[in-house]
Amino acid sequence: MRYEAPNTTKAAATLLAAEKGKAFVLAGGTDLLVRMKAGMLEPDLLVDIKQIDKMRTIAGNSTGFTIGAAVPGVEIGEHKTLGKLWPGVVEAAQLIGSDQVQGRCTIVGNLCNASPAADTVPALIAAGAKAVVVGKDKRRTMAVEKIVTGPGSTSLTKSEIIESIKLPKRDRNSGDAYLRFIPRTEMDIAVVGAAVNLTVSRGVIKSARVALGAVAPTALLVKEAADAIIGSKLDDASLERLAAACSAACNPIDDKRGTIHYRTKVAGVLGRRAATIAYERAGGKR
């Protein structure tokens, strides 16, 4: 196995494109190294992107943020303004693993690992985040929900790397929240995840996005759930409609972490709770 640590995104993409065997991008490595250790992956090339300056920074303000692909969770948590404007995105990023894992894990890694249960993906989808994708020859910007196509697979081509995640302009009176259910208090993979992002005006929800994790092969953007609360003051009836829409959108599996029935039920519960938190963060009062 070769190990390369290029200084530019272009160089990284070129290395990936030129590799004839199996090539993987190494950011935090918190998923990749586990799979290598288990013998599930035997890469011929690892491209470490942590030497690429552009990927190591968080830049922006209320007009929009750019989070580099190699920024670890702990730095996202420490950023002064990001957490004020996007608390849901930040709390999702902070939920990945322990403090030890936070020192390494990245939101782009979380996305490209393409697990249905990734914590940041529903939060990013709810936020309307976009991924800046750099290939050997061209760049493109894609909605986060278009990246993952199924468990373990993405729409990226062999030479493409996500350089950064862009969060959109933040309107005033906006709030987001992410909640997940795990059996313990820490260290588990989400059994269900729910993210809500909304903007209110005089207490009325003007726009909303609701996303769910771990209840389908990919994270889901649930338009029906958002529609259930848009135009409302998040009264109990609209919350119940949101919960029902969340549960209805679920297409989960039975596995060691939860049952179909359990995930479906709890998706509604968490959707409701996340909406309540997001609404309060946006200045709404129930």
């Binding site: 196995m1 190990y3 260290m187």
Partner: protein, 164 residues
Amino acid sequence: MSGAHVSTTINGDAVQFACPNDESLLDALRNRVGLTGVKEGCGTGDCGACSITLDGRLVCSCLVLGVEADGKEIGTVEGLADGDKLHPLQENFIKHAALQCGICTPGFLVAAKVLLERNPDPTEQEIRYALAGNLCRCTGYDKIVRAVQATAKDLRKKSKKKSR
């Protein structure tokens, strides 16, 4: 497997080692550098027994490649004491019986040190969540949390004295 020559700083000392590209930093520290205080409990980042600091950040050394350590500063349990003077955490772990079998102890000490540097006055809940990445199967965590609380108190007293 092609390998790498790694120049790094471990507990303040310049250290060089060579390792295959796919070898974890944990294995390199244990088998090539001889720092067996870093323990492997799982190899998958779930137990924290291999906790070290990498450029000051707390990480699981099983989830870092040895080659990634090139040019980095590493801190392990072996670097906690200042010569023959134990770190207050080490002192309090002994005093408060915060260890039984001791296999998790190095990881807890490193993680707790990072916590107290960041947050000198943590609540019980903050301690518990900060140490959630370190598994202990012997103690039920009770005496570990108490030892960290006692250390935080000791260190705050010390820094107060200094600032006077």
